[in-house]
């Protein structure tokens, strides 16, 4: 019964999406307000029905109804409740349902909070949103229906892939999808602007909060996924340059560029055409990511699904939306008016530079990800493009970007003073040079690259602080006045500083982890001691434990530093009987921002255990960086300017509507 209800709700959502994708446009054509308002009610109703459909699937998983294929294939009655719920999106069908749920959620948000949008713009935006939704409802109903039944229901399910039975999976995909799918809003706004042939600074002010929300979630989602891979896959890697990771990195790079170009458009009414193009490209890359992950064209760390009919269907959606929006762009973009002028050395110029490097870096990731696929299709040769390729292309492009990052906020709009900015950055530059010298001397004879990279990171962080200090005139006016000015600074300024500093923090983590990571790999017997980076780890013994749906071998290690016992670490190996597969649960010991990491290998007949022990210095900075960036984004989102300008039913905001 629940199954049929869920299925039916999804069909109704499709019907609503079809109405929403046509009626409001007709309304906008004829200037009929009633028809345009249809978009609002259908968007909200659509959200309701998709939510019903999704809840139905969750209930089926929770109640272990194995008469449903999707539940049978991905669940097991003894699976802990949390994984019964998260298992809903741990498979292809369920994750697509989550995808459309989030799409409907964003549509619903625009409908609910978009009262201060011009009526025709809101109608167009929601209609475009409905085109996307309709295509994906069709995709789910035709190729990936999660509500299919089995004629003779089995007693027990096949269980979820053990690697996915982890709290990381509860958070990572929803976050990532909130980011991916969130960019659909800026896409819809861009297409709506092209259809209407009108775009202005107010448009950018509406688009920016949505882009920012999506960007925050995508940033956190990527960081989360990276940390999950780090502790779950058992060899301490946190970024594999795997195509699936690249699929999420590309929209992030394009989205970051979009975030910055939208600033120029909002403040200076320039770069309009480019911002529209970026909006389209960012969501296109999200769609491409969905295609890469969901079609099974890749075999990679995340390869869940393989089914050619699905691949072809998503490819068609991809071509339709990317091709369609780009054609519309080619046709209508010239109709958009040119914006304000600016000198190459100016805040706008710096933001253009940012966009240039970010999109170029995105392009190199694109080539590295798709070239092997293209080559295989064309010549049949199989190649793999791995970390060395990306280190040689992506890395060098990020260096000038980070150099420029400190200068940008210090330049004035329209015409900037590079020399003045450089002077104000003297302190930051000196801090960076000292850092380089100290680290070089301290690690003398080691890598020369690492101190330089850390110097760059320090420069970025100090640059962000300089920007704040300059704005509150710290050291030039009495301290109390400076604090007062600090409180008066727009939150977006604080946001910029935090986000930029976050990039520097992440870079320090990346460099330290890759350069000074020490490891011990070998076999240990009980009471053997391994020494890693000054720590002594004693293997205490091997114990067995029965978990809910697995058997676990736990190997406790006593960790001592200079004779003092710090902690007992408990790495384990789990054997999942249903799938006859095992997972390695690494044990982590956090010391400041550094971590000790133990993961187990196989046991030999004599009772010795193969172990991998790593000491990863400052590794946590890799994820604290993105958290800082997301926090900066959040601050920026709470800026008064955006709160007032954002779609929100506030009387005061009426005044901000564009003169039409």
């Amino acid at each position: 019964m629940i199954t049929e209800a869920g299925h039916y709700a999804l069909v109704l959502a499709l019907a609503l999406a079809l109405i929403q994708s046509t009626v409001p446009i007709a309304g906008a054509r004829w200037g009929d307000a009633a028809l345009m308002n249809v978009a609002r009610s259908t968007a909200l109703a659509q959200l309701l029905f998709v939510a019903v459909s999704f809840s139905a699937l969750v209930m089926l998983h929770v109640s272990s109804d194995f008469s449903v294929v999707n539940v049978f294939e991905n669940s097991h009655s003894t699976k802990p409740l949390i994984y019964k719920i998260t298992g809903v999106w741990g498979n292809h069908e369920g994750s697509m349902l989550l995808w459309v749920l989030i799409l409907a959620l964003f549509g619903g948000l625009v409908a609910a909070f978009g009262n201060n949008l011009p009526l025709s713009l809101r109608a167009h935006v929601l209609a475009v949103q409905a085109w996307i939704a309709a295509a994906f409802y069709l995709f789910i109903l035709v190729t990936s229906n999660p509500f299919l039944r089995i004629a003779t229901p089995p007693i027990e399910g096949r269980d979820l892939n053990p690697v996915l039975q982890d709290i990381g999976l509860a958070v990572h995909p929803p976050m990532l999808y909130l980011g991916y799918v969130g960019f659909s809003i800026s896409f819809s706004f861009a297409v709506a602007a092209l259809i209407e042939g009108r775009i202005d600074a107010a448009w950018a002010r509406w688009v920016r909060p949505w882009t920012l929300v999506a960007w925050i979630f995508l940033t956190l989602g990527i960081a989360m996924g990276s940390y999950w891979a780090y502790y779950e896959l058992g060899w301490g890697g946190w970024w594999f340059w795997d195509p699936v990771e690249n699929a999420s990195l590309m929209p992030w790079l394009a989205g970051t560029a979009l975030l910055h170009s939208a600033v120029v458009m909002e403040k200076r009414n320039a770069l309009k055409v480019w911002t529209i193009l970026l909006s389209i490209l960012t969501f296109s890359l999200s769609l491409l990511g969905t295609f890469l992950v969901r079609s099974g064209v890749l075999t990679s760390v995340h390869a869940f699904a393989t089914d050619p009919t699905r691949g072809v269907f998503i490819l068609m959606i991809l071509c339709l939306f990317i091709g369609g929006s780009l054609s519309l762009y080619a046709w209508r973009a010239s109709a958009l008016k040119q914006g304000g002028l600016f000198a190459p050395i100016s805040r706008e110029g710096a933001l253009v530079l940012n966009n240039l490097f970010l999109t170029t870096a995105c392009a190199t990731v694109f080539i590295g990800t798709l070239y092997p696929l293209a080559l295989e299709v064309l010549t049949g040769d199989k190649i793999s493009v791995g970390a060395p390729f990306f280190n040689l292309t992506f890395g060098p492009l990020f260096v000038p970007l980070m150099m420029a990052m400190s200068f940008g906020p210090l330049l004035a709009w329209k015409r900037g003073d590079l020399l003045g900015a450089a002077q104000r950055l003297t302190a930051a530059g000196i801090a960076a040079l000292i850092a380089i010298a100290v680290i070089y001397a301290w690690t003398y004879g080691g890598s020369t690259f690492a101190p330089l990279a850390i110097g760059l990171a320090i420069f970025v962080i100090a640059g962000a602080i300089t920007d704040l200090a300059e704005r509150m005139a710290l050291f030039r006016v009495p301290f109390a006045t400076a604090m007062q000015r600090a409180r008066g600074l727009p939150r977006a300024t604080w946001g910029t500083a935090f986000a930029h500093a976050g990039v520097g923090v992440a870079l320090i983590g990346i460099v330290c982890e890759t350069t000074w990571n020490s490891e011990y790999i070998g076999t240990l017997k009980p009471n053997d001691v391994a020494k890693v980076a000054g720590y002594e780890l004693k293997l205490d013994g091997v114990t067995q434990r029965q978990g809910p749906n697995y058997r676990e071998m736990i190997v406790p290690f006593t960790v001592t530093l200079d004779g003092k016992t710090l902690s007992v670490m408990m790495p384990s190996k789990r054997n999942f009987t249903t799938r006859a597969s095992s997972t390695t649960e690494a044990a982590l010991l956090t010391r400041g921002a550094s971590q000790l990491y133990i993961s187990l290998g196989e046991t030999t007949n004599e009772g010795a255990v193969a172990v991998r022990i790593y000491h990863k210095p400052l590794v946590l900075l890799i994820w604290w960086g993105p958290i800082l960036m997301a926090f900066g984004g959040l601050l920026s989102l709470s800026d008064r300017r955006l709160r007032v300008g954002a779609p929100k039913p506030a009387k005061a905001s009426r005044a901000l509507q564009p003169a039409e």
Binding site: E73, N91, R158, N161, V163, L233, G234, W235, G236, G237, F240, G296, L298, T299, S300, V301, A303, F304, A305, T306, L341, F342, P344, V352, L353, L356, F357, T360, A361, A363, T364, I367, G368, Y371, D381, K382, I383, S384, V385, G386, P388, F389, L392, T393, P396, L397, I521, G522, T523, K573, A580, S581, S582, T583, T584, G601, E602, T604, A610, R612
Partner: protein, 161 residues
């Protein structure tokens, strides 16, 4: 500066960055790309000693020998040919005889494939796509290999890097 000059500056700058990026990509393409071979393809192509490639196939049943200090020897077969592989380190969780494997490394002078990374599947029925394709091509494909291909290949980093 006039609007035209400004635009030229921007276009010029963009082209310069793109040219640099293109040069970087081409350079990286030349050095850091790894080809995939099965044992019979490797024999056919006569891959020179020391050239890195990815070797894929099935772990020959009965060929797995564990030595001291995590040294492992096994053979990779694709039905037509086999190639001995030497690896030092911890094998992935579900490395098993008779199942698909992909290893990255190079041949040494004695014709042994020295792997520094071994990728194995994370599911009892899963096989790396490269291996499945190669086996299909040679007619060694059994349908039950791909019965339920929902899985993840997980790389294991070697100690002998």
């Amino acid at each position: 500066m006039t609007r035209k000059q400004r635009r030229l500056t921007m276009i010029g700058g963009s082209l310069a960055v793109l040219a640099v990026a293109a040069a970087l990509v081409l350079n990286a393409m030349r050095d850091s790309i790894v080809f995939f071979s099965t044992p019979s393809m490797a024999a056919e192509k006569q891959i020179p000693t020391g050239k890195r490639f990815r070797l894929g196939g099935l772990v020959q049943p009965g060929s797995l020998v564990r030595g001291d200090n995590l040294a492992v020897n096994f053979s990779v077969a694709d039905g037509a040919a086999t190639l001995p592989v030497a690896y030092k380190g911890i094998l992935p969780d579900l490395f098993r005889e008779g199942q698909g494997v992909v290893a990255e490394g190079a041949l040494d002078a004695s014709g042994v494939f020295r792997a520094d990374t071994v990728f194995a599947k994370h599911d009892e029925t899963y096989m790396p796509k490269d291996v499945a394709d190669a086996l299909k091509k040679q007619g060694h494909w059994k349908d039950d290999y791909g019965a339920k291909p929902s899985a993840s290949a997980v790389p294991a980093q070697g100690a002998s890097k």
